[in-house]
């Protein structure tokens, strides 16, 4: 039971990551290989603020959103100078920079040692104080966050803003001729995506109670891309399904019973093969509407 609760929390955190990356990749068509950086900025900001400055989790998470938003606005502006595939390459560079800041600015991040002893969220009203210390209560909290993020994404999808994002993905230059300042739209969605990813980071840090730089690498960004692509681009439901599938897949493969000395590698292989097969036969992902 404890194990299932643990998996469900992880699915929740990855759902938020997938939903937010889907806004950027699925709707606006921006190939961003740096989502893990914003995930990490949220995690580190809230971890540092709660451990060193004893700030409440929810305030710390909000600060994480601000940090991610400001940095993403800057990064987005720089990336907007790149053309086509170079955006993806530039975004990789940014992920590497953020990761090496986590690793090297040791006064703040403790570098490779990571930050241990991060507290679970707690709510305080006067004398009433509730801590989400059990995994079940944390799960409830994550579900609430996932629901909020999901409804925000649905709201965006239904809005005129959402339609304009899809048009940008299809033909940005043509859309400009019809009077859209597409750069503003792309920056807006990039910042929203980064802000939401940072919330996932805050949740992750306080759930695991320990973070180190190894979670926030390009590998993680690529993993997130595959979650969104597998679930289906430009579909919020798809993002949820992708998160569910790719978080549970390694657990599922654990039960297939590869000999233990090669199990880890075999899981990687099976995982890779499944992605390739899916992209060959269902390029729009499990429930997506749109092909890259």
């Amino acid at each position: 039971m404890e194990y299932l609760t643990h998996l469900a929390v992880l699915v929740g955190i990855y759902s938020i990551l997938a939903l937010s990356l889907n806004l950027v990749l699925g709707y606006a068509g921006i190939i961003s290989v740096t989502h893990a950086a914003f995930f990490g900025l949220g995690a580190y900001t809230s971890a540092i603020l709660t451990t060193v400055y004893d700030l409440n989790f929810f305030l710390a998470a909000l600060c994480g959103v601000l940090v991610a938003a400001i940095i993403s606005l800057f990064v987005g502006t720089v990336l907007s100078k790149f053309r086509g595939d170079f955006v993806a390459l530039g975004s990789v560079g940014f992920n590497v920079i953020v990761w090496s800041v986590f690793l090297n600015v040791q006064e703040l991040t403790r570098g490779p040692l990571g930050i241990p002893g991060i507290g679970r969220p707690n709510l305080e009203f006067g004398i009433w104080n509730y801590e989400f210390s059990s995994n079940v209560s944390f799960l409830v909290l994550s579900v609430i966050f996932v629901a909020l993020v999901y409804f925000l994404c649905q709201f965006i999808e239904k809005s005129s803003f959402g339609r304009a994002l899809k048009a940008i993905r299809e033909d940005e230059e043509a859309l400009q001729v019809f009077g859209y300042r597409t750069l503003h739209y792309k920056l807006a969605v990039f910042v929203i995506g980064a802000g939401l990813a940072s919330i996932a980071g805050a949740l992750f840090a306080s759930y695991i109670t320990f973070i180190d730089p190894s979670t926030f690498t390009i590998n993680e960004s690529i993993f997130l891309l595959s979650v969104v692509i597998l679930g289906g681009l430009a579909s919020n439901r798809g993002a949820l399904i992708g998160a569910l599938a790719l978080v549970l897949l390694p657990e599922f493969l654990r039960f297939v019973g590869f000999p233990s000395d090669i199990a880890a590698q075999m899981r990687q292989v099976v995982y890779g093969v499944m992605l390739i097969v899916l992209m060959l036969y269902r390029p729009q992902g499990l429930v997506g509407e749109y092909k890259l």
Partner: protein, 254 residues
């Protein structure tokens, strides 16, 4: 009385060695259909691209309605000047529905305003009107990518019509560039486009048409502009211009 609404002065654009538009000074009359003709590669599409900010000018000046001068323009600004266009190589929002292709040019352009707007009954009514006119209303839920070639060209024209119905960019479109809108259309579809252009003229809008078909040019044009190697070869009423020896040599000769 005629009045010039759009004018270029010494417009110049070259692509590594090729002078696509060569010191071109030409003017277009308000409320008329002006056809631009010329051999392949004579700079017709480049001229439209320059005027709609898709390609930056090397030199020269553009004047709209005698008052607005510019030497450089960003493509997101031109809609605010009342300019809109179709594309020779049809450019739709392919993986959006036919209806969304129209709604997107009818709704709010500002980032924040659009975030808090969903399309309303007015937008739908406008979209219905232009899609019905182009015979695409039944197809409104199909993705643009799944339309036939002719339907795709008609959808581009529906999008331009929508731009004439909406002033969301600050100004409803009243100068329209059509870059070979008839190419590849069946006769039935051509008739639809011809009647749309005549209606737009009756509404007083200025249209600039790039076309190769002489019959259509004679039927529609109030004026003809002939380009050759990016230079202005002739301009005037169709009968006179099309009878000129140098025009025939440059264009119809072979």
């Amino acid at each position: 009385m005629t009045s010039t609404i759009l004018q270029t002065k010494h417009l110049f654009k070259h692509f590594d060695g090729v002078k696509a538009v060569d010191h071109l000074s030409v003017s277009f009359e308000k409320g008329k259909i002006t056809s631009i003709i010329g051999p392949n590669g004579s700079g017709k599409s480049t001229l439209i691209n320059l005027l709609t900010g898709l390609v930056p000018l090397d030199a020269g000046e553009v004047i709209i309605a005698h008052s607005l001068h510019f030497t450089r323009v960003k493509s997101h600004e031109v809609a605010g000047f009342g300019l809109t266009r179709t594309f020779q190589d049809v450019r739709l929002f392919e993986q959006l529905s036919v209806l969304d292709n129209i709604l997107v040019v009818l709704t709010e352009r500002g980032v924040f305003a659009s975030l808090f707007e969903t399309h309303g009954t007015l937008h739908l009514a406008q979209a219905e009107e232009v899609l019905k006119k182009m015979g695409l209303w039944e197809k409104r839920h199909s993705l643009a990518i799944n339309l036939s070639y002719g339907q795709r060209k008609l959808l581009e024209i529906a999008r331009v019509l929508a731009m004439t119905r909406s002033a969301r960019t600050g100004r409803a479109a009243d100068i329209i560039f059509f870059d070979e809108p008839f190419a590849g259309l069946f006769p039935e579809m051509r008739k639809v486009v011809v009647s749309v252009m005549k209606e737009l003229r009756a509404e007083g809008r200025t249209q600039i048409l790039v076309e190769h078909n002489m019959e259509l040019i004679r039927e529609l044009s109030d004026e003809v502009v002939v380009l050759d190697a990016g230079e202005l070869l002739a301009q005037g009423v169709p009968n006179e211009v099309l009878a000129k020896r140098e025009v025939i040599e440059a264009y119809l000769g072979e």
